[in-house]
């Protein structure tokens, strides 16, 4: 590994870490307003989000369970962004994937292993199909994909509301909810009492697969070139349209899979208002994770942990409202967006310590 490459990786890690520290520091102001010591509050938050007392009372497992859909939707956004398509349609694809899983989970009866496998494949296909429409509108007619994917999200969410309330509604009960899926369709869990299970394994596999796809495969190379430098890709003979379409289909499949895993592994049915923005969070996770699969994995776990910590640790142990968790995440996002602050800071540190980490300019 060359020094320059090592410097890049160091910067890629340092920036999120500095952003998190800055976000926490600024959030302390709000913690102080509720007359709690920030140190106490953050200790509680950390314990409730990442602590692990015993195997049965392990917050980290819950965090990993909750990180699973974020990893998938984050990867979904990474693949789309890396093909030059700013798709934020993960929410809609996620919802449709979940509906496919809920329906086939009770509607067809298949042996274990086969049942979830079939469902996951079909959910991926539906997610991909739902991403195909905005992709083709963009590529053929030049319709802005940001707008179409937002509209498609709304359509999918309303469609889900309809399905849950009418055709797929379980007969009794005051809240609209679909029937519980067959046991054969449910994904295995590692430990009783936690939904952390096979879905997380699939998520890790997906991280490895997407990394390999983007940086080691020919189609991944094509879509990255098309996304980073469209003129260059065209000039070099890459069929950019196809590459972008492929990126969108993979992106849709990942988001559809996220929805299916959430149903098969965690909820086992779909309630009205099932989606709580896990698709949108994917976009943030992707951006915070430097649009890189490994970054997505780390940020998704961090995201889930801070949320859980705020929910349990702050809300229950201290009297700080759990919304602070959302506030901290928002501040971190803000500080990552202001990343030039850190690059300047790092360059300055490098200069005064004489480390020479500043980008090497060629002596022409």
């Amino acid at each position: 590994m060359t020094p320059r490459r090592r410097g890049q990786i160091l910067d890629a890690l340092l920036i999120p870490i500095l952003a998190i520290l800055s976000g926490l520091a600024l959030a302390s102001v709000f913690v102080l307003l509720s007359k709690t010591s920030p140190l106490v509050a953050y200790r509680e938050l950390f314990h409730a989000g990442f602590g692990c007392a015993t195997l049965t009372r392990c917050a980290l497992f819950t965090t990993l369970e909750r990180a699973t859909p974020l990893i998938f939707t984050g990867l979904s956004a990474v693949v789309a962004f890396r093909s030059g398509m700013f798709s934020i349609g993960q929410e809609g694809q996620f919802v449709l994937g979940a509906m496919v899983a809920a329906w086939l989970g009770y509607g067809v009866h298949l042996p274990p292993v086969v049942h979830p496998t079939v469902i996951l494949i079909l959910a991926m296909a539906v997610g991909a199909a739902y991403a195909y429409l905005p992709a083709i509108l963009k590529l053929r007619l030049g319709v802005n994909e940001i707008i179409t994917t937002i509209i498609f999200n709304n359509i999918a969410i309303l469609f889900m509301t309809y399905l849950v309330n009418f055709p797929m509604r379980a007969t009794r009960g005051s809240t609209a909810v679909t029937p519980v899926i067959d046991a054969s369709a449910q994904l295995p869990e590692f430990l009783p009492g936690s939904h952390w299970g096979a879905g997380f394994i699939l998520a890790i596999l997906a991280v490895a697969f997407i990394w390999g796809y983007l940086w080691r495969s020919v189609p991944g190379y094509e879509q990255r070139m098309a996304g980073e430098a469209p003129g260059f890709a065209r000039y070099g003979g890459i069929r950019s349209g196809r590459a972008a379409l492929r990126g969108m289909l993979i992106s849709g499949a990942l988001a559809g899979m996220a929805g299916a895993i959430e149903v098969l592994g965690v909820h086992h049915q779909v309630l009205q208002g099932f989606s709580v923005g896990l698709g949108f969070d994917g976009v943030l996770v992707a951006i915070l994770g430097q649009v890189h699969p490994i970054g997505v994995l780390m940020v998704a776990v961090l995201f889930a942990g801070i949320r859980l910590g705020a929910q349990i640790g702050l809300q229950i142990t201290t009297n700080i409202p759990r919304e602070l968790g959302g506030g901290i995440l928002a501040l971190i996002i803000l500080f990552v967006a202001a990343r030039s602050l850190y690059t300047d800071l790092l360059a300055w540190v490098a200069r005064i310590t004489g480390r020479g980490a500043a980008p090497r300019k060629e002596a022409a």
Partner: protein, 532 residues
């Protein structure tokens, strides 16, 4: 380096520069000893340039690309700070540090690239920053009235309510001109105003320019199209390689003389090369038509052929269809008519990658956005045109060791200083970046190279390298089509020269016997018979 700037020097030069007693009104613009060196590109863009414009005249400033015309005008407009020199406007010595100061002195500039807000209306653009207001709101009726007043005063009809983005380029240019007039510009600088216009639109523009001169405005227009100069200018100043060669009244000169002044008499640097030994035709273009936009041809009915082992040069002033021709041959733009054949096989409808697979290499005009991806590594840059080859892709995966060896080969063979395989290329200098492009394009042993402005923006050393590389390729039997607006380059490299004018080949010359002046006349749209 220079005489100190003082009023005496100004006065003295003022008398000398017009070559006659000048007892009328003071000169509108006078620039003495303007010198500007750009350290980043190591270019002496202006070398002690003297330039004088009389009030109320249309003054053409001509020269080849890079002669320093735009730099000189940017100095006058306050966009570029000169290293030395003095300026007087209307007879008074001035210092112009910023375009605001130039505007206050009554100077307006219409740039090559318009600075308009496409989503605003014509009136909003013209009055941008000085909108008439009423109770703190813009007064639309007053706006329209002001623009109508300007229109009738200068005879430049436009629709004040039209959205600028919807207007054709010629009307956008008119809006730019009105914008400067609204700011009371008495001296208008037009930077290559006809470059973006069709011949008919250019004629209309000349009418506008004459009208402005009739109304007492002074117009300086930059161009390298000599026919336009003769048509519209009262006087013409010629620059070459940063120096002012001379100023002449139009009545005392002709296209032929101007071409000689523009191109220069000095012996040109010629790359040593043996006579070409052309073989079979490799690239055959037959009656090719390419559209710029729907229905507007940029290349019409053009035929050419390039044989193995020869360099065919396409000379021509920029904007005469070069880009469209190259894009059509390389597959980036569809042909509206005609056929293209490579090694005897028709390739007119083949996609880019297929043409490349059949042995076509392309050195693009714009190396930064087309030739390279600056966001990624050298390895990923060198393989873009060849990644489909089985040696670089196996079972859908990139063969990274092979790509790495290709990158190493390019670095070694083309001595790309400072580049390392696997690292980002964004910090490389222009010359080294072009070597990466050349290395990649030559690595696959192409049968045909399409080189479009291959030395644009490069320093002398890199230019020499590029030239030698192309000649070596020719000597190995590669067919080379060289498109360049640099006459020197065409003359140094080409074995045969075709002159492109308004999308057509207007002349073919044997490079060994071609005279620069003849080329200059053909490039300007003249014919050899009438000019001699």
């Amino acid at each position: 380096m220079h005489a100190p700037i003082d009023g005496r020097a100004l006065h003295h030069a003022a008398q000398g520069s017009t070559g006659a007693d000048h007892s009328g009104p003071p000169l509108a613009v006078e620039m003495i000893g303007i010198t500007k060196y750009f350290p980043s590109s190591e270019v002496l863009a202006n070398d002690r340039v003297d330039f004088a414009v009389e009030a109320g005249e249309v003054h053409a400033l001509v020269g080849e690309n890079g002669a320093g015309k735009t730099t000189l005008m940017n100095v006058l407009f306050g966009l570029v700070a000169p290293d030395a020199g003095a300026i007087a406007v209307d007879g008074r010595p001035v210092r112009i540090h910023h375009p605001d100061e130039a505007i206050r002195l009554g100077i307006g500039m219409v740039h090559q690239h318009f600075k308009l807000v496409p989503s605003f209306t014509v009136a909003e653009n013209i009055l941008l920053g000085m909108e008439p207001t009423r109770y703190g709101f813009t007064a639309r009726a007053a706006e329209t009235a002001r623009v109508r007043g300007l229109e009738s005063e200068f005879g430049l009809p436009v629709d004040p309510a039209a959205r600028v983005g919807d207007l054709p380029v010629s009307l956008q240019q008119r809006v730019e001109i009105l914008k400067t007039l609204q700011r009371d510009a008495r001296i208008l600088i037009l930077d290559e105003p006809t470059a973006v216009l069709t011949p008919q639109e250019a004629q209309e523009l000349f009418g506008v320019i004459r009208g402005l001169a009739d109304r007492g405005r002074t117009v300086i227009f930059i161009t390298h199209k000599l026919l336009e100069v003769v048509e519209v200018a009262h006087r013409v100043s010629v620059m070459r390689r940063g120096r002012m060669i001379g100023t002449k009244p139009i009545a005392d000169t002709n296209v032929r003389e101007l071409a000689r002044m523009m191109i220069g008499r000095e012996v040109l640097f010629r790359v040593s090369k043996l006579p070409a030994q052309p073989g079979d035709p490799v690239l055959e273009v037959d009656r090719l038509t390419v559209n710029r936009q729907e229905g507007i041809p940029a290349v019409s009915d053009l035929s050419l052929r390039v044989r193995a082992g020869e360099i065919v040069g396409i000379a021509g002033v920029s904007g005469n269809g070069q880009s469209e021709l190259v894009e059509a041959i390389t597959g980036l733009r569809p042909a509206a008519g005609g056929t293209i054949r490579l090694l005897g096989r028709p390739i007119t409808r083949l996609p880019v990658w297929d043409r490349r697979a059949r042995g076509m290499a392309h050195i693009p005009e714009d190396r930064l956005t087309m030739g390279l991806n600056l966001h990624t590594t050298l390895d990923e840059n060198v393989v873009v045109s060849r990644y489909r080859e089985p040696q670089f892709a196996h079972l859908g995966l990139l063969v990274r060791e092979k790509i790495r060896s290709l990158a190493e080969w390019v670095i070694r063979q083309f001595s790309v200083a400072a580049a390392r395989p696997g690292e980002d290329i964004a910090t490389l200098s222009g010359g080294n970046l072009q070597k990466v492009v050349l290395g990649r394009e030559l690595s696959g042993e192409p049968r045909c190279i399409i080189a479009n402005q291959p030395t644009r923006g490069l320093d002398v050393g890199s230019i020499e390298f590029v030239h030698q590389t192309l000649i070596d390729a020719r000597d190995r039997g590669v067919a080379v089509l060289l498109v360049s607006v640099e006459l020197d380059e065409i003359l140094a490299l080409a074995d045969r020269i075709l002159v492109l004018f308004r999308g057509r080949i207007v002349g073919e010359l044997d490079a060994a016997r071609a005279a620069e002046e003849e080329l200059g006349i053909l490039m300007a749209g003249g014919t050899l018979e009438t000019a001699s």
